[in-house]
Amino acid sequence: MHFFLFILRRDLKLAIRNRRELANPLVFFIIVVSLFPLGVSPDRELLSEIAPGIIWVTALLATLMSMDSIFRSDFEDGTLEQLLLLPGSKVLFILAKILAHWLSVGVPLIIIAPIMSLLLYMPEQTLPSLLITLMISTPILSLLGSLGVALTLSLKSGGILSSLLILPFYIPVLIFSTMAISSAADYLPVSGYYALLGAFLIMSVLLIPFAVVAALKVSN
């Protein structure tokens, strides 16, 4: 527990010291969401129908692109190797790193998303489902993304390869989240989707860190 808090505090401190870098995925998210009305059509009905998908795909891509930072800088100066050699639990180490990453990237996305929903004419009744699906699913995205980064850490062109590896795993999360928001738009029940996403989250939190530890051993 001590180790977990130590790593969490360390990573959050590092994130706050690089505050300007934190804005990058957020600005990416805002700009790309704005591209869709400009590139597709500003028609109100069309946009409100595809809005959940737009916001979700863009959040997904923003998370993917920012995942690289989770291990890269520690790997490059050798700190990662040293931290893995510490007597603390490696699984807790991974979880602390992912939590810190989610707090610095995922949470700002969740906070900005309602404003984006205004830009895309999303109906008000979808707002709770948008927030809840983002809250449940962005940790899943961070967990899976960290697996992709861990697998490709020592490769030169690792960035795009890790996206290629992890996107197929993102697809079910994307499908269920957007289906939940679309159902909410029609005032249909959404609790089933939340339950499924919650199950994905629990499974990922329990199982992915072990895979990440194995992948880091490969990369080191």
Binding site: L151, T152, L161, L165, F169, I208
Partner: protein
């Protein structure tokens, strides 16, 4: 038991016994394919709704089954490769990824060719087609990471981790037609009551299924032996073989 695995999993022994089996399996494949195709394409009756186009089923369904079976073989090999560091298992992971991707492409393409006359569309985004497409992406990911590393043993380790994490997709594909309302045909064979297709269609289907299975193992052994020779080219037993060939 472990001694058995280590002995027959060692590169030299594997090369020998898989060579014998590859020959037997190739003959079995030719016989079964000929029988299955004859039964399926000529003897079996045309469907009352679909007439002759139902015959694509005899290729489409076995290749879809094999695409899932190959993934299970790949994931199991991955576990063996990660836990016991057996070189042959690492090679099998890489080869299964390529073979599995081919079966998946075959299933998707024959499905598309069947879908056009049947449903009027080459593609629909229903649960089974989407999850099979995701399976193709998973295979491509495994192939990509396997070949991205310079050291093939490291690449195989990374690919095994990815393959094992992806196993969760296989039950989703298999049960997708039960869990979601879909245009795709429901389960006909692997149900708990009697199958809902007549024997004259089931028998060619099963023959083709076994033909595809023997084909899979024959090609797996052939390709793995090839890869094994490449990787172990410095070792004495390979030098022996190449000397005998000269």
């Amino acid at each position: 038991m472990m001694q058995f695995i280590h002995k027959y999993g060692s590169p030299k022994h594997f090369y020998e016994w898989s060579g014998r089996w590859a020959k037997i399996l190739t003959w079995a494949t030719l016989v079964l394919m000929a029988a299955g195709l004859y039964q399926g394409l000529i003897v079996s009756p045309p469907d009352y709704q679909q007439s002759e186009t139902v015959r694509i089923m005899y290729i489409h369904v076995p290749s879809a089954w094999l695409s899932m079976f190959t993934y299970m073989v790949m994931a199991t090999s991955g576990i063996v490769a990660l836990v016991w560091r057996i070189k042959v298992a690492e090679i099998v992971v890489g080869q299964c990824a390529i073979i599995g991707a081919s079966f998946t492409v075959l299933a998707l393409v024959t499905g598309m060719l069947w879908g056009k006359p049947m449903w009027g569309a080459y593609w629909v985004w229903d649960a089974r087609l989407t999850s099979e497409l995701v399976l193709l992406f998973l295979y491509v990911g495994v192939i990509a990471i396997y070949s991205a590393y310079e050291d093939p043993r490291t690449g195989a380790k990374a690919a095994s981790i990815l393959a094992i994490v992806g196993v969760v997709n296989i039950p989703i594909i298999h049960y997708s037609v039960e869990w979601w309302n879909t245009l795709h045909q429901g389960p006909t064979v692997t149900k708990f009551d009697s199958p809902s297709a007549p024997a004259s269609m089931l028998i060619p289907l099963f023959i083709m299924f076994f033909a595809f299975k023997t084909y899979f193992f024959a090609i797996l052994f052939a390709r793995s032996r090839n890869e094994l020779l490449m990787r172990e080219r410095e070792s004495s037993w390979v030098q022996q073989i190449t000397k005998e060939l000269k």
